[in-house]
Symmetry: C2
């Protein structure tokens, strides 16, 4: 559905701000706590947080994170899941969210309704309360900016930094070709992230959102380089499908495409990898886990390792 309309009566301008906010509260339904202290006051009020809190913010913007081919329900779903993936990447679970909407007055009310219903369904599924937000006018624009709060699911959170030279590099699921639909059909790896945060041998973790080749830099310890085995990279069926049309190899897509929303993590060099992989199999029998290489000394890259320099990943702002 195209989000804009030329018919005034179908647009959010016909509703006006006050009725739009009432409608949003209705569309969100039970994921929106009752007043006071929810949507409608100057601030939302959250209960005290006895543990450290995690906060992340990610938007969906028309023309960038979605287009007319993505159903509006899926856009709302994707908005929450993008942020959930960031929580998953630190081993956290979600609690609450606020959402700032910026939109042209010609946005179709029906589009927005479907968007919020999709967001609400995802919030219900993952146990997130939508506690507040803002609506602002922005001519020729449609974007929603969500800020998500969470808490550690266990005794620690796992940062991106923490890997050492020699550590093994693992990734969940398969990579590449997300443009064929997985960029909005993905499942945030919350359960897997929480499980991995309980394993002491997992030293650093992040999610793959800009392509493995690009994201892996953030996990790489100083003085090391990722030495990957090309044959080990879990190339997705979508990456193979897309390669038929683009002239790139499936491996190129697996390394360079963005929006995989899989977990990428480092496992201590001396860890019992067999024990880890067996425990994973029992916990997540249907989610692939692959060791794709290790962090080598910058001067001692094993022969035959994949050179990541040739792959760029998704570069923003270009």
């Amino acid at each position: 559905m195209h989000p804009f309309t030329k018919r005034h009566r179908d647009s959010v301008a016909a509703l006006g701000e006050t009725r739009l906010i009432e409608a949003i509260r209705r569309w969100l339904g039970d994921v929106c706590p009752p007043p006071p202290f929810g949507i409608g006051d100057d601030c939302a009020v959250l209960p005290p947080a006895p543990r450290r809190q995690l906060v992340t913010t990610d938007p969906v913007i028309y023309g960038r994170h979605f287009n007319d081919t993505v159903p509006p329900r899926a856009v709302g779903d994707k908005l929450l899941k993008r942020n959930l993936s960031d929580l998953a990447a630190m081993g956290a679970r979600p609690t609450a969210a606020v959402i700032a909407l910026a939109l042209d007055p010609r946005v179709r009310t029906r589009w927005l309704e479907q968007f919020y219903r999709g967001l609400a369904a995802a919030a219900r599924r993952f146990g997130v309360a939508v506690v507040g937000g803002d609506v602002a006018q922005a001519d020729g624009f449609l974007g929603a900016f969500l800020t998500l709060f969470g808490e550690a699911a266990g005794p620690r959170v796992v940062p991106r930094t923490g890997a050492h030279r020699g550590d093994w590099i693992y990734v969940t699921g398969t990579l590449g070709g997300s443009l064929l639909g997985r960029h909005w059909r993905f499942t945030p790896r919350l359960a897997a992230g929480a499980w991995l945060a309980h394993r002491r041998e997992v030293r650093a973790m992040m999610d793959v959102s800009d392509g493995l080749a690009r994201d892996l830099h953030a996990l790489t310890p100083p003085g090391a380089v990722p030495a990957l085995t090309a044959a080990a990279i879990p190339v997705s069926p979508d990456a193979r499908r897309q390669a038929r049309h683009t002239g790139h190899t499936p491996l190129h897509h697996a390394l360079s495409d963005g929006e995989d929303y899989e977990l990428l993590f480092a496992v201590a060099a001396r860890a019992d990898r067999t024990a880890l992989e067996r425990a994973w199999q029992r916990a997540f029998p249907r989610l692939r886990l692959t060791c794709i290489g290790r962090f080598a000394d910058a001067g001692k890259i094993p022969p035959g390792s994949l050179r990541l320099g040739a792959f760029h990943g998704y570069e923003h702002l270009q």
Copy 2:
């Protein structure tokens, strides 16, 4: 300064995302906590919050909340202050913020630097840590979406609901004509908000951001109407100045213009108003406090009361 440039080398596109994020961290300086767990990881990590937390989100969007006449430093300053005003309105103090930026690749790097330096200066002044954020590309657009966290400054927070029929209506400062510059030169009423939250006779509070005539509805208890005294409305010198050019009366501007960022609150009908006003005088000798009327029975509006129906305030989405 116009935020967009035609010269590639002056634009954020020339920097690219990675170097832009490094630059943002540098521009923010000491208001940005050191890694890990600050900017650069999947999530920001905040300390446990022993009290209830307050959350609010408000953006600044080019063409809507600022234009080429507002210095970029003032735009960053305004972004934080808009959100601080929401915390003030509940009697809270700020703790931390995250900021999601959406921008065209042609945005001028120098504009953005000044924006972040202005934001950092305000964050330093008000004791806010900028703990995380996101940068997303949005063609033809420039907007920054801030989510601010805070905690109650005293034993309670003051919601918008809570006024009763017969309660007195008060407002701080003077109103109207913010377009002449006060829309970005204002001071968020944090100290006043915290002070008022400690006074039991203050039953409901909000900030005036869309014009008194519009905002007052949110404070009005069911079955009541605001009965205002026209002569009591604290009309700002800017409202008088603007009236000379617009054909409207100064009172019209005081009631209808947005972005006053003053506090509007209800005082219990039986309160000792003289004691309240004297205590206020001692605490805030330079900030005007005005009783502008009271909430009357819907059927018993005192003769001579101002009819708010003729004034609309700022209507979004039109």
